[in-house]
Subunit: 411 residues, 2 copies
Amino acid sequence: MSPDHVRKLDRLDPLAGKRDLFVLPEGLIYLDGNSLGALPVAAQQRAAEIVAQQWGQDLVKSWNTHAWIDLPVKVGEKIAPMLGAAVGQVICCDSISVNLFKLLAAALQMQTDRHVILSQEDNFPADLYIAEGLGRISASGTLELKLVEDNGIEEAMDESVAVLMLTHVNYKSGKIHDMRRLTQLAHDKGILVVWDLAHSAGAVPLALDDCHVDFAVGCGYKYLNGGPGSPAFIYAAKRHQDRIRQPLSGWMGHAAPFAFDTQYLAAQGMRQFLCGTPPILSMGVLDAALDVFEGLDMQVLRDKSRQLGELFLEQAADTGCLAEFELVSPTDSTQRGSQLALGHPRAFAICQALIDRGVIADFRAPDVLRLGFAPLYLRYRDIARSVEILADVMAGKIYQEEKYSKRQKVT
Amino acid sequence: MSPDHVRKLDRLDPLAGKRDLFVLPEGLIYLDGNSLGALPVAAQQRAAEIVAQQWGQDLVKSWNTHAWIDLPVKVGEKIAPMLGAAVGQVICCDSISVNLFKLLAAALQMQTDRHVILSQEDNFPADLYIAEGLGRISASGTLELKLVEDNGIEEAMDESVAVLMLTHVNYKSGKIHDMRRLTQLAHDKGILVVWDLAHSAGAVPLALDDCHVDFAVGCGYKYLNGGPGSPAFIYAAKRHQDRIRQPLSGWMGHAAPFAFDTQYLAAQGMRQFLCGTPPILSMGVLDAALDVFEGLDMQVLRDKSRQLGELFLEQAADTGCLAEFELVSPTDSTQRGSQLALGHPRAFAICQALIDRGVIADFRAPDVLRLGFAPLYLRYRDIARSVEILADVMAGKIYQEEKYSKRQKVT
């Protein structure tokens, strides 16, 4: 594909203006927005305002005057339209892991005669760890975590399964599950479904209500650009909200937190998922970060994200630089999220060589080079340039240089 | 006490210089540092640095280059000396409520034949809610939360009790428990003890190791000045760390989080208490805020805090403005934390009238006016002035004005 064509893609990009809403380091090509989203200008401003004015000057009064107390609801409702969720079903709080614990425990209590959580072997391991942890203290005492391969999920759905827990877009391969179909199949067997939207929210259009999803969790710091360790969110379908009892029953989830009653009485609706005092600074920054999505058609975002990935593969094919790689992601761009996973035994060294050359990619053990395409701030020319750099690294076998081949992954 | 004497107290205050380390609103007297600590200058600077440089410029690389991955340990170790805790026993993470859940579950698993959590009726209710929540899903299925009055704790410690859960400084009255004695008595009966240090850490000297405390939790946003909803901390005695299994087994608590193993393997030491990705912005700000304690003798802090409270009561006695109040806190300043609780049927209206006059106090339902004395940034003259304002409010019965008497507490 010619440079002219790449320039044309940028010129015609309906999202081109969004890039100006971000602070981006000069000269860097950031292909890791699926790990940590870039900094929105509004988020930087909000951080300064929360610290200087809300905390520094207005102090404890800000719980009312700046409505800190409502921030989890406010942020949840800002995320909701991106999930295809009507009002009153999304709240921002804690981390994905903590939220998953709440939801799995709540779902299991709704399924008193079933004791299996079904999930996928290559699900994001943290999700599996949480199910394991819950199993260790679960009242049933017989909670079983059953892991199957991707292609064995449908077959494994039987009447023993209480909860199906899946990640919508696989963290490594980027493969997208058919949410509508799997949710329907699960419901046919009386199974509740918990979806992890970590690599979906803000990247692919979602229709949770329309797919009759039961529960979901998602992440604030990837495509939602909320900053490092930004709080996560929970979705719970309205129809379930009156029957939920979740075990992390902290005071912020109480019907009247400041009445200081001795006994817990869960709040109505989504507030019942709140636990301790929320990290206002991190959550307020996420609130501001979400404004870049205002009025945005998620399909336009999705179209660009697919085109970015396709451009990468086309350009790479032209240079032949992927000869040694295995495409771990689905070849059809409609079947993968906003990322590409490229398998190579030296993926870690290649990733390091790219980073040294200003292309921030990600490595996922043991052998995957992961490239994320955040369509809000990446240009087509960035993709073309990143392919040139990868081609140099591969052609010159630069990743075999001692400093790369000997470098070890620490974290 | 004469104005001269008050001036002298300020002049001789060994902590006077610490006030300059804080951003404080002009003309405000802030007696609510026990709810939300004031803003340290260093915290403001750090917030800007984390956002602009670490997130904005260095992006995902900051997990290594700015050691985000070690932040929970680093912050924990900064807090440790204030708790009288040797290295390797404190970590910063999540909220008090979430952390309490981890510890209670872990402690109960160490006490397989006992099923009672003993606590105090007027413990901070959120702590009770968490014990309740754990009880609902606990594997024993028979977990009982037993609540007794303050003076019934010792008698209630018997061989049925697995865990004694107490707040060291009562959130309302400020009454201090004898940590050494109660921990010893509990151990004599084979009971493990979990202390909540929300109103202790950064306000009163603590000696957790020396008192053979088993477990503790504490708060980052009160006397530690970490900002609204700042992450909390956990203390776990070294001797227990190899036997702990906590159910919120998220990936940050895994021995090798980035190996992406399917099975959970808990990290050694305190990292096993980590769950999801920490809120770096909020935690980094707490890290900077803690520097105001560097090299500080906690006894000097405690002495000033007691003197501030005593000055308040002396000045108030001179004016007679406490005639209608009941002192809910212990009269002996050695028996209370860094706060005073004053009971009055119209406490809410009085609190509002004070706030309108620039004295930020706190109300605790149903009838307590709570005044916190944060010795790092309060001057003796502030205390004297706050008494004058309270005296005006009481003498003029200003709190009976329609706008106060009709105002309702919302949050």
